[in-house]
Structures are given as C-alpha cells and as structure tokens.
C-alpha cells in the first residue's frame, strides 16, 4: 500500500523536473515564468509530504514546513510579478 506522503512526494519530484525541463526548453519568457511556477509547486509538494509524515508521530502534521511553504507561495508570486515587469520593460526597450 502506497502511503500519501510517498504518492504526493513523488508527484512533487515529477512536477519539479517537468517544470525545470520546460523552463530550459521554452523560448517565450512568459512560458518560462509559468514553468518556473510549476517547478516551485513541485518543491512545495515535497516539503508538505515530509510535514504530513509527522501525522503518524504527533497526530498533527508538522507546522514548520507549512509556514515555510506559505512564505514560499507569497515570495513566488512577488518574484513572478517582478519577472513579468522586467520582461515587459525588456520588450518595450527592444521596440524603441
């Protein structure tokens, strides 16, 4: 019987790798930023799987990785916004 942490952990590994592969393969900046976000989701999934394993031991999942991932989600969206703004500026300066 596969446990939940193994299923979601390996899904995280898969998402990280396919996100990274697409980041290296795609030409368009927007597609790359999207792929990096998928990549990040994979990392979060691995973290939360390890936190979920604490359930057996403590009756609650480990809150420390949860807090780190929450921080990560917010930082990821800020970085996405900055990357998109940089991309827009880059295109505008190319057009000039």
């Amino acid at each position: 019987m596969l446990s939940a942490e193994i299923i979601y952990g390996l899904t995280g590994v898969g998402l990280f790798t396919l996100g990274l592969r697409a980041t290296l393969l795609q030409a368009s900046l927007l597609a790359r930023i999207l792929a990096i976000n998928v990549c990040g989701a994979g990392v979060f999934l691995m973290f939360v799987s390890i936190a979920y394993q604490g359930l057996a031991q403590m009756q609650v999942p480990d809150p420390v990785p949860h807090a780190l991932v929450l921080t990560g989600i917010v930082v990821a969206v800020s970085a996405t916004a900055l990357a998109l703004a940089l991309g827009r500026r880059l295109r505008e300066s190319k057009d000039e």
Binding site: L18, A41, V48, S49, Q57, D62, A67, L70, T80, R89
Partner: protein
C-alpha cells in the same frame, strides 16, 4: 474511510496534478497554458487540504491560483500575439535535456524517499507543540510564522516590498480596462464588499484556525483586481502618498514591535507571553494591508495614472472606488 479508497483518491489527484502541470508547460498556446495553470493551482489547493495543510490550501487558492493567474493573464494581454515560432531545439540538446531531467528526477526521488524512510527523527513540531501556549495564538502555523520564526516573516515582508519597488521602478502602469457591462458590474458590486469582509474575517480567525495575514491580504488584493477589471483604474487604492505608507506599514510595524520589546529586556521579536496575542494582531493587521497594496500594485504593474486617482471618470467608477 477505507484506506484503499484514500489511496485511489491520492493516485487520482496525483495523476491529475502531473497531467495538468505537464499540459500547462508543454502547450504552445500560452493562453491555454495559463488556463491550465490556474486549474492546476486549484487542484494543488485540494492536495494541500488532503495533506492536512488548510492554511496552505487557502493561500494557494487565493495567491497561487488567483493572483498569480491574474498577473500572468494581464501580462499575456500585452504580449505580442504573433511571436514567430522559435527554432526547434536540436536533437542533441533535446536528448541531453531529457537524460538530465530523468537523472535529476531519480536523484531527488531517492533523496526524498530516504528522508521519508528515516521518519522518526526529531521534529521541530514537538518544540512547537510544547511552546504553543506561550505564543499568544493557538493556530500552530500562525505561531511559527509570527512568533517562533518571526525573522522569516519579517524578511519575507522585506522581499515583497523590494519586489514591488522593483515593479514600480520599471515603468508606468499597464493600460486599464473598459467599463464593464451591467452583469459584470453587478457582480463586482456584490463581490468586492464580500471580499473585504472575508479578508477581515481571515485576518481575525488566523489566531486560532486556518487563515492569517497572507490569506487576508490576498483576498483584499483580489478585490482590487476585480475593481480594476471593472474599469476602476486605481483599483480602489487610496492616493499615492497613503498607498506608499500602507505598502511599508507591515515591515515598519514588525520592526517597531521587534525593537520595542528589546527596550524591556527581551530579544528582537521575542514577545512577552502575556502581550504576544495583541502584538501579533498589530503586526498581522499592518502586514495584511501591506500585502494587499503590494499585490494590487504588482497586478496594476505600476502607479495608476493620476487621472484615475481623482476617481471622477464616471459614476460607475466613483461608486466602485468608494467601496
């Protein structure tokens, strides 16, 4: 519920996550990729709920799928659509890349599985549970974010502030949207006040249940995104002078509280246990406003134009702007 049924649910959700993730990054049509990415974010929120991380489920639905999706869609709107197709990558490059990806996946999977196999190591969760009663809140995730690991959150607010300063420095706002038709306008009139109330509730409830400053800030930012889509160029933000202070309020309040407690013999951001609840609420309220303004400005892509800030474009605009 039967463990076998749980496993089937897990496998189904995992397969859908992988499928949607793959489809989102592999498609050549960016618009389609973005729609799939938003669906992927919502499924991910479901996965967080399944893994007993409701704080993350809320944050993912509001930020990961909601705000990030809106940001990417807004960027797509100004992206030139014709974009000549890129030259197909060479065979050698593709082969190397695939080989590299497979090797990397195997290596990470091995590392993860051996970490999971070690299982019964010492967990910080024990320390959190032991000291939770002194943290001033009863939601362990909020306790970790605002008390035990307050440095992380302080620096995170600094990261958000610097990212938004970067966005603001890079140029003027994107052009706004047309005034909506009556249906969208009616929806916005209902949704915006509801989102503001929900934001306030999430902020308050974060002390003892899933919720907190990040989810609340993102919900307020969602209200701003809606207003902007409804043709309100300033997205409900106050005048630039006030917005600037709100943008910095979270970091400033955090620093002020952190330094204030040092005057009474505590360490930096080490709160006295009987005052912790109040201090955390002060920091979280300021952080909520900062995060909301930061995400809204990031979505607008710069300061809204001066004309929009006077808020007298149209009756719709003034009505919407005062909510």
């Amino acid at each position: 519920m039967n463990p076998l049924l749980w496993m089937l649910l897990d496998l189904l959700l995992a397969a859908m996550l992988l499928g949607l993730g793959w489809a989102a990054v592999a498609t050549r049509d960016l618009k389609r990729g973005l729609a799939l990415f938003i669906a992927f974010g919502l499924l991910l929120a479901l996965a967080w709920a399944r893994l007993r991380a409701p704080d993350l489920a809320l944050a993912e639905a509001a930020i990961g799928a909601g705000i990030a999706g809106a940001l990417l869609l807004a960027a797509l709107r100004s992206e030139p659509q014709d974009g000549q197709p890129a030259a197909a990558p060479s065979r050698v490059f593709l082969l190397t890349l695939n080989l590299f990806s497979v090797l990397l996946a195997v290596a990470i999977a091995w590392a993860l599985l051996s970490a999971l196999a070690m299982g019964d190591g010492v967990r910080l969760a024990q320390a959190v549970t032991e000291h939770l009663s002194q943290s001033g809140v009863s939601n362990p995730v909020t306790a970790v974010l605002l008390n035990f690991r307050a440095y992380d959150t302080l620096l995170e607010l600094a990261v958000i502030l610097s990212a938004v300063l970067g966005v603001l420095a890079l140029g003027p706002a994107r052009p706004g949207y047309r005034l909506p038709g009556p249906v969208l306008y009616g929806l916005i009139r209902w949704l915006v006040p509801l989102l503001i109330v929900t934001g306030g509730y999430l902020l308050w409830v974060g002390a003892h249940a899933p919720g907190g400053a990040f989810q609340a800030g993102a919900t307020l930012a969602a209200a701003a995104v809606l207003l902007r889509l409804g043709g309100v160029d300033a997205a409900g933000l106050p005048a630039a002078v006030v917005s600037r202070w709100l943008l910095a309020a979270g970091l400033l309040a955090f620093l002020a509280v952190g330094l204030l407690v040092t005057a009474f013999g505590y360490g930096f951001v080490q709160y006295p246990p009987d005052l912790a609840a109040g201090l955390i609420l002060v920091i979280e309220s300021a952080a909520t406003l900062s995060i909301a303004v930061a995400l809204a400005l990031a979505y607008i892509g710069g300061w809204p134009s001066r004309r929009a800030q006077s808020g007298s474009l149209h009756t719709h605009t003034t009505e919407g702007g005062t909510h």
